[in-house]
């Protein structure tokens, strides 16, 4: 392949992924509201379009037309920068996550991932760490005590949980012997999903990703009753929408990451069982990836509408005294599997 072809193919992949991604972000907001209403015996949005399906667009229009208020006491450059950091991180992490196997299309061999980076997992961890800056800047630059408290909470929380998150990824890397998401998915062939082999690591990673995305029961940075909305109290109009969309984009990223690392990525055991080949196999594998993400998203939302928020000391206790040792235990478990059982 010439450079030109590589550039064009990559651009097509980026456009395709970004459009699907943006649409699913918009609709995850819709489904959040729908699932919330189902859990509370309500109907939910049903006025805009059939069953309220156009609600996300109505929301975006509403937010675009709102006045953008920047507080007097704020640090204006940082105040403007913060939502962009949040969005940038949320959207760029997706580049390394494979959503399908290698396919042959029009004589080209195309890998169904935007960038097959050999240190993809490091890239993801690094970028999710930058996400802390978005929220912390937002809290600090708003010039409001509630926002500041939210920002500080989020930085403490995200740093604490990043430790156990990183250690639980350690187990996955040990098994796959690679930092590349593509290799990690290939290592989980058939039913060799990491969630089954190392359930402890799966649970710690799942809980940590709840904390990383600031979702309930770990949404202390937002905590409406105590912090009036936390770090985004002083944001309005599209800047607020930026944080809002980033939260949902982060949810999708986390779901995709959990799928890739623990639930076999695009691996679909049915393809092997029924010996399906060619285009159908690829379609089923990409479909399996989407379904896994959708189920995890549902789980994220479901948990939010079931559980109360943790208190701050409980959150820290859980992070350092429970999740961290469990993640270490998981690494030992994987090491034993490799040394003794030679998986």
């Amino acid at each position: 392949m010439s450079i030109m072809e590589i550039v064009v193919i990559t651009l097509i992949k980026i456009v395709a992924i970004l459009s699907v991604f943006l649409l699913s972000v918009a609709y995850s907001v819709y489904f959040e509201r729908k699932i919330a209403s189902w859990a509370q015996n309500r109907v939910g949005p049903n006025r805009v379009g059939w069953n309220g399906l156009l609600q996300p667009f109505a929301d975006v229009f509403k937010l675009l037309l709102k006045e953008d208020i920047v507080p007097e006491a704020s640090n204006k450059p940082l105040h403007t920068l913060a939502p962009f950091i949040a969005l940038l991180v949320a959207f760029s992490t997706y580049a390394v996550i494979p959503f399908g196997p290698e396919v042959e299309l029009f004589g080209y061999k195309i890998n169904l991932v935007v960038a097959d980076v050999n240190i993809g997992i490091l890239y993801v961890l690094a970028f999710t760490s930058i996400a802390v800056y978005g929220i912390t800047f937002a809290g600090w630059s708003s010039g409001s005590k509630y926002s500041l408290l939210g920002g500080i909470r989020s930085s403490a929380q995200m740093i604490s949980y990043e430790v156990s998150m990183g250690f639980s990824v350690g187990g996955v890397i040990l098994l796959a012997e690679s930092l590349s998401p593509v290799k990690i998915v290939e290592a989980q062939h058939g039913w060799m999903w990491n969630a089954i082999i190392q359930p402890i690591g799966f649970i710690t990673f799942l809980v940590s990703s709840f904390a990383e995305t600031n979702r309930l029961p770990f949404d202390l940075p937002e905590a409406e009753p105590e912090l009036v909305g936390g770090y985004h109290t002083e944001y309005s109009s599209m800047k607020f929408a930026g944080f809002f969309l980033a939260e949902y984009a982060n949810m999708i990223i986390s779901s995709a990451l959990i799928t890739t690392l623990y639930l076999g990525g695009w691996q679909n055991p049915l393809v092997d069982i029924f010996h399906i080949q060619g285009g159908w196999a690829v379609a089923m594998q990409v479909g399996a990836f989407m379904i896994k993400i959708a189920l995890l998203l549902f789980f994220f939302i479901w948990v939010r509408w079931s559980l109360p928020r943790f208190r701050y000391d409980q959150l820290m206790n859980l992070g350092w005294k429970v999740m961290f040792p469990l993640a270490l235990l998981n690494i030992i478990w994987v090491a034993v599997l490799i040394m003794v059982f030679k998986i």
Partner: protein, 164 residues
């Protein structure tokens, strides 16, 4: 309190959260499949039972005459001072009738005392709960709005006879 437990009293399973979390998740999941009772309001409307106290109305007997004899008891008993009655004489058998009967719907508290005190069963609470005004002066309902044919109030009158 018996329902609350201190941390040291929790069993091991309760202490590791997970089974309790699963319990909570199960509850919301079963709730998701429960039918809900929502009415799509402007399209579907709630029809109240006879015991409902909506806006007070004057009973209009057959022959387009109000039952009210303008005794003024309702105005006297009204705790919110919402009712104003002005009596006058008439050739009819009942000799008195209200020239002016006004209820200020911004003042009315829907207590139903007027209905209870009325000796002629002339003022009753209806099922009408949609009260919207764009001006304060619109909220003062005169006889034109208060008079409702007796056929529309049968439910309430029967309820009053049974339970008052």
């Amino acid at each position: 309190m018996s329902g609350m437990k201190r941390k040291k009293d929790l069993t091991f399973l309760q202490r590791i959260y997970l089974p309790e979390i699963v319990k909570g998740l199960k509850l919301t999941l079963t709730n998701m499949f429960r039918p809900n009772v929502t009415l799509q309001y402007p399209e579907q409307k709630f029809t109240p039972p006879a015991s409902y106290r909506g806006r007070p109305v004057l009973v209009e007997d057959k022959g387009n005459a109000e039952r009210c004899v303008a005794c003024g008891l309702c105005a006297r008993v009204c705790p919110a001072l919402a009712i104003e009655v002005q009596a006058s004489e008439t050739e009819n058998e009942k000799e008195r009738y209200p020239v002016k009967f006004e209820i200020n719907m911004l003042r009315c508290i829907f207590c139903g005392f007027c209905e209870e005190v009325c000796p002629e069963e002339a003022i009753v609470m209806s099922k009408d709960y949609e009260l919207v005004f764009s001006k304060r002066s619109d909220a003062i309902y005169g006889k034109d709005k208060l008079l409702v044919p007796i056929d529309n109030l049968k439910d309430r009158l029967e309820f009053l006879r049974n339970f008052k």
